[in-house]
């Protein structure tokens, strides 16, 4: 090779190698994405060839879009009504990756017609507790009674008469059973939380914060990312969120 060709040739060779590496990397990345998108979302976490890279990407997406409300560790923030994503208490659905993915894509009360927006917690201390159907408001004492009833599930029976009155309201006038079930176990089909497991979405489970929730209602929301995340990123972050829970209890059906 003539001496004058050495540097141009070397540069050209390096550029060619870099290009080939770039194409190979992109191709590998693409094939990983394709494999993840084609796979059953419930099985990806058990696939060593796909899980690590997908979870790494999911963590990046989580850090960019979810930590503001759910915190870096996904533990949630009670003040924001953002649930703990690491426990087995699922507000919507049962913790399946596909269900998480639907929430990521379409949100909760996000304005996306395909999101979850079936019901919200009425404000029983207001003249018109619920916009979607007529529900009678409760008096302050009735709200205190209801709080006493819910506290009794945590072993607080300080005022037995109030607990009994609260129970009568729960299954009667207030109609709480309609969403939270007769036994207070909640209904993940409408996002009605379990009231008897000691996990509180809002507040600390004290009589005051329970009464506040009953009096003023709640309607937490989660944004829809269908327009801002790629299909792969939505799945990757869903898998990451699913991975935050206890693997031994993860539902796969």
């Amino acid at each position: 090779m003539p001496r004058r060709l050495f540097w141009p040739g070397t540069l050209l060779l390096l550029a060619a190698v870099a290009l080939i590496l770039l194409v190979l990397h992109a191709g590998r990345d693409r094939s990983l994405r394709n494999a993840v998108m084609q796979a059953d979302p419930e099985t990806v976490l058990n696939m060593p060839a796909l899980a690590p890279a997908t979870l790494a990407r999911g963590q990046v997406v989580f850090a960019a879009h979810c930590v503001t409300c759910h915190g870096l560790a996904g533990k949630g923030v009670a003040a924001k009504g953002a649930p703990d994503l690491t426990d087995e208490d699922h507000l919507y659905g049962s913790g399946l990756v596909a269900e998480i993915e639907q929430i990521v894509l379409h949100g909760i009360r996000s304005g996306d017609a395909r999101g979850w927006h079936l019901a919200s917690m009425p404000a029983y201390g207001r003249a018109k507790p619920y916009a979607m159907e007529p529900i009678p408001p409760l008096r302050p004492q009735e709200i205190q009674d209801m709080a006493a009833y819910l506290r009794s599930f945590q072993g607080d029976w300080a005022d037995k008469a109030a607990v009994e009155r609260g129970k009568a309201l729960y299954v009667g006038k207030a109609g709480c059973f309609d969403c939270h079930a007769q036994d207070g176990s909640g209904d993940s089909a409408v996002g009605a939380p379990n009231l008897v497991d000691g996990v509180w979405l809002y507040g600390d489970g004290s009589a005051a914060t329970i009464a506040d929730s009953i009096a003023n209602g709640h309607a937490g929301s989660s944004p829809a990312f269908a327009k801002s995340l790629s299909a792969f990123d939505a799945r990757a972050v869903s898998l990451y969120v699913a991975s935050l829970g206890d693997a031994s209890t993860r539902k796969t059906l």
Partner: protein, 305 residues
């Protein structure tokens, strides 16, 4: 050896001699650049997200006239109909769901071709809702800054106040005792509401506000506007001036009055967020409507301008 073939060596040297113009060198560099450009362009064209080709992208289960049916929607539909995941579904279940989804897409596309939106009310309503949602998407899908939420809360503090409560007794004298009402009120202030005091002035307790403490909105409903206006200015333990009404002379005794207390931001954040987003969405939707009206050619009948 070099001296054996001096013309070849000098020719190659001449091509890559940067100090001299060389048509062959330019041609070679041009060709190399074109090849590299084509490789990059080809890679971008066939791998970019959203590129539609005859190949069905991995995130879709099918393309119907280039309209994708998303794999995530397909999986959700399998779950909804058969409660199975993608890998657990049988071929029959998969085919059934896919056929149904393709059928729906075909009918939607045909509906658009036929202009069904012109005369089917449900389609029109759905389209209006969808366009409004699309216009508001920037607001509804964004995560607002905490400082913006704080500012919104400060601006609308009253909206996030508690309802407030009051507990009071309403005593009524017959209309015929109108002349003695002021004395009765003064005696109530002095002696309290003991039965003997009530009997002395012919006062009876009315049937309203007998359930104990009530939220302000309920007290307003029970008392009526005239008595509520009086009650809302009263403090704990205060006795009102007599209020003449058609059913008698009313004297209110306020036991407990809590004006609507403000609720801290941390407690109402989710409601603030929702109101903030709703307001933003309304602004965007209104802007979109203004734009649509501006560009539209709307002719009005005489008398409807």
């Amino acid at each position: 050896m070099m001296h054996g073939n001096p013309s070849k060596c000098s020719k190659a040297d001449d091509i890559w001699s940067m100090g001299r113009p060389g048509a062959r060198r330019s041609l070679l560099l041009c060709g190399a650049g074109a090849i590299v450009g084509l490789i990059i362009a080809g890679f971008g064209l066939f791998t970019a997200d959203g590129t539609r080709t005859s190949i069905v992208p991995a995130e879709d289960v099918a393309l119907v006239n280039q309209v994708p049916i998303l794999m995530s929607d397909y999986a959700a539909q399998l779950r909804a109909l058969y409660d199975v995941s993608l890998s657990q579904a049988t071929m029959r279940q998969k085919r059934q769901v896919l056929d149904d989804m393709i059928r729906e897409e075909l009918y939607v596309q045909r509906g658009v071709e036929l202009g069904m939106q012109a005369d089917t009310i449900e389609v029109r309503q759905a389209l209006v809702g969808a366009v409004e949602a699309q216009a508001a998407a920037d607001a509804t899908m964004a995560v607002p800054d905490e400082s913006a939420l704080h500012a919104y809360y400060e601006k609308n503090r009253a909206r996030y106040a508690d309802e407030g409560q009051m507990a009071l007794d309403d005593y009524v004298q017959p209309v015929s005792a109108a002349g003695r009402a002021a004395a009765a009120a003064a005696d109530l202030r002095l002696s309290g509401t003991a039965p003997a005091v009530l009997a002395r002035h012919g006062l009876r307790r009315s049937a309203i506000m007998t359930d104990g403490e009530e939220f302000i909105f309920a007290a307003r409903l029970h008392l009526g506007e005239r008595l509520f206006a009086v009650a809302s200015r009263m403090k704990d333990g205060e006795v009102s001036e007599p209020v003449p009404l058609p059913d008698g002379i009313h004297i209110l005794v306020m036991r407990h009055h809590i004006a609507p207390p403000p609720r801290p931001f941390a407690v109402v954040r989710d409601r603030v967020l929702q109101d903030f987003v709703t307001d933003q969405a309304k602004t965007l939707t209104a802007g979109n409507e203004r734009f649509l009206r501006k560009r539209a050619d709307i002719s009005l009948q005489k008398g409807y301008e």
